[in-house]
Amino acid sequence: MPDIEFKSPIAHGPVSAPDGSVSLEDETSTTKVVVRAATGTAAAADLGVPYGQSRLRADGTLVCGTRPGEWTLFAAAGRATEVAASVDTDGFVNVVDVTHGRAMMRVSGPKATAMLAKVCDIDLTDDMAPDGAVFSGSVAKVTCDLLRSDWRGEVSYLISCERSFGNYLFATLADASTEFGAELPTGLDIH
């Protein structure tokens, strides 16, 4: 996996409300490695997180059970080679670095859930999507993987989608945030 120059598909900087009720920022540079592993392999046992849950590994990698038999590993930018190498590939195991292929953004703040509920039909209540929950669904009609990852004591979601939808999704979420006082950066085209 050669390291190539990273370029985010999201053309705009962070969007936030002056009172901090909701904020939206580009997190595309986050390392993302997808692992598919058959039941009974060492990789499946090591990752050890069932579908719908996540856990933070000692090396700082966040392991998310994104689908049955499939995991996504998130880590700080530039760690793709290291994270991919940490997976035992013995048996029916597939490891792919999708850092460049998927856009990612973080929505956080006390109004983050209300904002996301405008464009997402998944039940986002604490009972159904507590901190650490992993789920997939439609966000603004784009199929996304979502992770509830509370940040600095605030409700927060990491949303990732196919790279080509990243700019559209960011703009649409920014548009949805204006109801909660978010100010759009100059040049952000939402319609």
């Binding site: 039909d121 789920f135 997939s136 669904g137």
Partner: protein, 82 residues
């Protein structure tokens, strides 16, 4: 809106899934007659009532599963992973 219960993801709007039609049993290609093969490919019961259908969870777990659906009322029951 039809709410369909995915065995992996839980209740979802049917727009998040893809219906794949009635579940039929595939005859043995080595011994099936043309009539049996045509029936397998094209003929469906299409009842007004309960039918076992296959669905694909395209926005969530990306797995196929079966569910019983009442075609008259759109009630669903007995969701099982394929």
């Amino acid at each position: 809106m039809i709410v369909v219960n995915c065995p992996h993801c839980g209740p979802r709007n049917s727009s998040d899934l893809r219906p794949c039609g009635e579940v039929t049993s595939r005859p043995d290609p080595a011994t099936a007659s043309l009539s049996e093969w045509r029936t397998y490919l094209y003929m469906r019961e299409n009842p007004s009532g309960w039918v076992t259908e296959a669905w694909y969870c395209r926005s969530g777990c990306r797995r196929y599963f079966t569910i019983e659906r009442n075609t008259a009322t759109n009630e669903t029951r007995r969701s099982e992973a394929s």
